[in-house]
């Protein structure tokens, strides 16, 4: 399936995927990012749909 992640179209190696799978696929831990799907903050169990626009927001900032 194809989804947009932080502005870039990405082909995932699955036909069905959840937000938490995407987070792990992108190399993040779940404590490190918040996910917004199509502009809304989303729980990580949520299933993604073809063409979804996902923003992964790192929770760490500062130093």
């Amino acid at each position: 399936m194809k989804v947009k992640v932080n502005g870039e179209v990405l082909e995932l190696p699955w036909t069905k995927a959840s937000v938490k799978q995407l987070i792990s696929f992108m190399g993040w831990s779940r404590g490190e990012v918040l996910a917004c799907v199509n502009g809304e903050v989303t729980v990580e169990d949520e299933e993604l749909k073809e063409g979804d626009d996902v923003k992964l927001i790192p929770v760490f900032s500062g130093g």
């Binding site: 831990s29 779940r30 404590g31 490190e32 918040l34 809304e40 903050v41 989303t42 729980v43 990580e44 169990d45 949520e46 927001i57 790192p58 929770v59 760490f60 900032s61 500062g62 130093g63």
Partner: protein, 308 residues
């Protein structure tokens, strides 16, 4: 799978360590109650006190100021925001801008002091010319700067935006480096700083603070300090996050374990007072005064200058 909050609204957050799901309204309400509960439980603030909030303009301190400003009205304490400009080009400017905007919006007084004003030089130049790691200069001098400002402004307490992740990382770092004294000092009781430090966000994970900031649409700087990559904390943070993924609640366990250890440990040679500035110190002179001495020597030798 249930994607709903207990109230029936669509969930925006699944708190894995408790199994609960929250909608926007229930999460923000829970978050504010948790901060109030932490303050009450640890007797952090009393009516009529003058509380300084160390405001960097990042999410943690911005969230802290927002929640405290609402509590200040109902609990009857005074709030002042204080910011330290360390002089990190391309990083600190945005934080200070966000801090000023937040304070304007909340009607809170903001006091800004720079390393240049306090120490005669900026962190960037210290890093360039000095021998220590950036965080060794910054951590010591910023702590001292906050103490000085707290004293000048006659603050009763100094509220810091440290969250659960920060605290768990510090515990692990002190264990890794074998620094039992610092591990003991984290408990707070032994240190008599000019203004007692309080951490009302200490029971909230960093992720929940970010979520609160997003849900409340708060303006904050999300830049990462250019020097942050060079420190041990980054590696400890990554390690703890991976562990938390597999074992939800592990960050709380680190803190609970540390609290139990500290209760049973007696450390020889308590905190002294610095002979030069009167601030708490492990030895006769505090680290900030030692660093200042080194800076003065470098300046007199022409190795470090105020101007670029």
């Amino acid at each position: 799978m249930r994607m709903r909050c207990d109230c029936g609204e669509k969930a925006v957050y699944h708190r894995r360590y408790s199994g609960q799901r929250f909608c926007k309204g229930c999460f923000t309400g829970y978050f504010e109650r948790k901060v109030a509960e932490t303050i009450r439980e640890h007797k952090m603030i009393r009516k009529g006190e003058r509380i300084g909030v160390a405001l960097s303009g990042g999410k943690d301190s911005t969230v802290l100021l927002h929640v405290l400003s609402a509590l200040a009205l109902t609990k009857g304490f005074e709030l002042i925001a204080i910011a330290v400009d360390e002089g990190i080009r391309g990083y600190r400017e945005e934080g200070l801008k966000a801090a000023a905007e937040t304070c304007r919006g909340l009607g809170v007084q903001l006091e800004v002091k720079s390393f240049e004003e306090l120490y005669g030089t900026a962190l960037d130049r210290l890093v360039e010319k000095g021998e220590l790691k950036p965080c060794s200069y910054c951590g010591v001098l910023r702590r001292s700067a906050l103490n000085k400002i707290a004293l000048d402004m006659k603050l009763d307490k100094l509220a810091l935006g440290h969250n659960l992740d920060d605290e768990a990382q510090t515990v692990l770092m002190n264990i890794i480096t074998g620094n039992v004294k610092k591990l003991h000092r984290m408990a707070g009781g032994a240190v008599k700083t000019v203004a007692r430090r309080i951490k009302p966000l200490r029971n909230l994970p960093e992720k929940e603070i970010m979520l609160y900031a997003l849900l409340r649409d708060l303006r904050f700087s999300s830049l990462q300090c250019p020097y942050a990559d060079q420190n041990m904390r980054t590696r400890v943070r990554e390690f703890l996050n991976r562990l938390e993924d597999e074992n939800p609640g592990v960050k709380f366990s680190v803190i609970k374990g540390w609290e139990k250890i500290v209760m049973g440990v007696k450390v020889k040679g308590g905190v002294k007072t610095c002979h030069s500035c009167g601030e708490p110190s492990a030895g006769d002179r505090c680290r900030a005064c030692q660093l200042m001495e080194e800076i003065k020597i470098k300046m007199s030798e022409g190795k470090l200058t105020l101007a670029d």
